[in-house]
Subunit: 589 residues, 2 copies
Amino acid sequence: MVWKGRIECILICTHMIENGKRIVIVGGVAGGASCAARARRLCEKCTIEIFEKSPFVSFANCGLPYYVGNVITEEKNLLVATPQRFHDYFNIKVHTEHEVTAIDPAAREIEVCDLKTGVRRSEPYDALVMATGANAIRPPLPGIDLPGVRILRTIPDSRRMRAAVEKAGSAVVVGGGFIGLEMAENLVRRNISVTIIEAAPQVMTPLDPEMAIRVAQQLKENGVEVRVNCAVESFAESKGGGLEVHVSTGESLRADLAVLAIGVKPAAELAVTAGIDTGSSGGIHVDDSMRTSDPNIWAVGDVVETTDIVTGTRRPLALAGPANRQGRVAAATIMRSFYPETCERRSGIRFRGVQATSVCGVFGMTVAMTGANERALQHAGIEDFERVYLHPGHHVGYYPGARPIHLKLIYSTTDGRILGAQAVGEAGVERRIDVIAMAMQMGGTVFDLEEAELCYAPQFGAAKDPVNLAGMIAANTLRGDFSPAAWEELNSSNAVVLDVRSPEEFRDGHIPGSVNIPLPDLRGRIDELSPAESEEWKHREVWLTCGVGQRAYYATRLLMQNGYNVKVLSGGMMTYETLVAARSQSAAP
Amino acid sequence: MVWKGRIECILICTHMIENGKRIVIVGGVAGGASCAARARRLCEKCTIEIFEKSPFVSFANCGLPYYVGNVITEEKNLLVATPQRFHDYFNIKVHTEHEVTAIDPAAREIEVCDLKTGVRRSEPYDALVMATGANAIRPPLPGIDLPGVRILRTIPDSRRMRAAVEKAGSAVVVGGGFIGLEMAENLVRRNISVTIIEAAPQVMTPLDPEMAIRVAQQLKENGVEVRVNCAVESFAESKGGGLEVHVSTGESLRADLAVLAIGVKPAAELAVTAGIDTGSSGGIHVDDSMRTSDPNIWAVGDVVETTDIVTGTRRPLALAGPANRQGRVAAATIMRSFYPETCERRSGIRFRGVQATSVCGVFGMTVAMTGANERALQHAGIEDFERVYLHPGHHVGYYPGARPIHLKLIYSTTDGRILGAQAVGEAGVERRIDVIAMAMQMGGTVFDLEEAELCYAPQFGAAKDPVNLAGMIAANTLRGDFSPAAWEELNSSNAVVLDVRSPEEFRDGHIPGSVNIPLPDLRGRIDELSPAESEEWKHREVWLTCGVGQRAYYATRLLMQNGYNVKVLSGGMMTYETLVAARSQSAAP
């Protein structure tokens, strides 16, 4: 399920390759551009041409929301590389505003239409790379083609959106994923009143609900209205100008602007028509050298299905990092196919698969994740997992300014392997997810996180970094130091909930029905737990809670060694609050 | 040389342990306090006592410079845990102001002196843990005991330092390592004029010189005078009050205050007297379960020698993270020694060794590192290594506010294993070093860095993160895409230095004797490189440079495939400038 090998590496001498071949790349943004540049570095004599439907190559599509928000003020800043640069640096010919309209795999030719003139022509290839990306999903709803309903995928889209924003006072963002949240933040930056509509019971579905609720709260605190369990049904022109957005609750929301951010789907039509295999997800099927079912055609980026290293499932993943690496792999394996004797020793170039590491900024909050969430594991039939929650500071508490990182770690109960991590906070969040992502890439376990030796000075972390703590807590469950209680069974279980916080903390709010014995009193009052007249406590499970889980853990060890059947409510009241809020949100429209 | 195994983990049921044993811990700061708390969690019935010479346990010694600098304003914030907390949470008795004066291993007793009364007594132990830490090095120089010459190791030290700072206008900091730099920054915060004196040719010796020069420049830009190759020879009282610091250049520096920050040495005298083995470094010798040569005595933290996972050398390392982890390991193995049948299945608890990951803030610059530097590798007889330099932004350039990270990666040319990394910059530095540290802990290679899937959104990183770039560049050298030139041979080599930047960039400064052909012109002007009348170029190496190394790499691939014998000056002019500056600094007093 997980890649376990290691790329072999052998020093080679690179010789001049005399017989140039023709590499044609369809699409010149992330994966296509990377493939082209890498191919040139590997082979000076090949002909390399890029055909790009839009007027731009290698533009920063991840920056578009921030261009709308005027954080990025100049359009030219979005152009990572120009056709001129491709020519000057790489001797690569870029044909912008050229749409590839057909592939003839047998003849190894493509049909190209020059969009400026409408003239069509054929172009031959020895290797073809499909880097056609993904298209925004536009469901066939009434009114979806109204001028006020917009998407943001290209630089021309962003120009139109900027113009629309100048005149808008309100917007509905359809979809609460990465792009939806980034759009919401940037529209608020432009003084637009924003409502997010999300059909799912939560925003940011790559997170589990109790983590996503923190994101919803952050949006609300910044003036964004968030409607979950709420699907758009149609758009209509409003009488007073702007749009009426009709939603599944029966309501109608007026807005000057609607932004579609429902997601994307692989732009695989061209490949399908040419008979190239796609997977059940609709993405082009490729092997680990990024080769399609046609031996002369490769595919990279958002248009392909990739293998998730945690779940083993194949799906498209619209992320720039994997797209770039896939472009490099495709270039290397194309060269090997051209010149097996020269390139054979350049062995082992293969794409390892993806783990969906991603990050999003939401009004100063950082939301980051890597690997699978609980839903994805269940969907993949993986059941031998456990999760822990923790809420450590991003640096030591004794240095001013520490902000909590709310971290969830999911791991295999069979071997301790890390399956996923999700984190939310104001500082240091992406750093911890990156460290865990690196460990996962290497097949690491919670024991590896426990032992990680990370940067520590008071303003930079802690002697026990949040990553170490996550590993220690998880490793403690595997060593049998404690068992996590199942939060979702809190209401159905007959366990006694014991809260070991101070009476003052308990008074300010606690789990209904829970009992309070502060940790410092517990050793002295242990007899209260099993009164002579009742054997009940010894037969019931005791579930422990506190503020964030630390004191509960200490109490657990104490009680376990006194013969009690104890579990810990991981993350304590700080986790409990989000579980309650998530449940109430998912129930409400 | 490197730990390659994995901790085995088996779920166990924890039973009540009836026969309590007596664990005595000498020293209650990082490793000692961690060991005590962990021991209690593993065994509720043991007696656990801590003897601590100072009035405080578990205090934040890493915070002391910031307390002097008034960043941390309250002394109580430095107390991570109090004796009362140890009692309340863990049923652990803490004896502060109790000095352990002797160990009798045969009788399993220690002699303790109550410093408040002067009364001595014996205390028995079943397991003894030496967590006596390290002492500041105080060379026997004339005047070193003058009241103005101070160290900063304890809370009382920091009180005295704060009082001294109130009246001081100038200070000499002796030693340019972590503590010296933190002290310099915090004294400047208190409006004190600071001179750092460092006997070595550079500050921050865990860095290689060309990285350390950036730190020296940062200090100077913030008003700190930096004197390298300058040893202190004696201190004397100044006639006008304050001190005269006589240094090896023959000069005398006047200052109101001198801070000794030369380094620390293991406080192992007690162990040595008791016949416990120490290593050549003076630290207590322990096995990987933190057990000393005496089977009933363990040792943890700054007082022990640990094994460096990169070089295999054994040395003391005064870092809080490893000390805490060692404390946990000692607690687990003590339990196993007490109750082999109960704890046997709690197997595999062993300390993996250290890689010296560390970080330091210097006036808003972050300096971080992990693993070995070049000097340490040479010292350990490791010769099969190479290094690359890069200077990427901490996030994409198209999003405002990107700041460069100056990164050096050292790796094995035999198998690509990562041997060390050093980074300097204003943002995102500790994150990248942490990711590389995690990879190293797992035995990772540059190929693993290349494939790492890390957080990317415009304000958080890049599709090709600095970690990916470092891996790609290094992996490219191992794949034979290019060879790095030896910067240190720049003056002695007969190679032609070809600078492929624009004429404007070249005009603003270049390597003496270098030739300028801009990259966009190179394909067209390739004949200039081998004029008909001269075969010289084809027989000489061509060393390529540009701004940061990227264009040079592109040019290298172009020239290699045209038959030239090419190498890249890694990191380009941005590396060159620091090499020149480092050479000039190491030569000057």
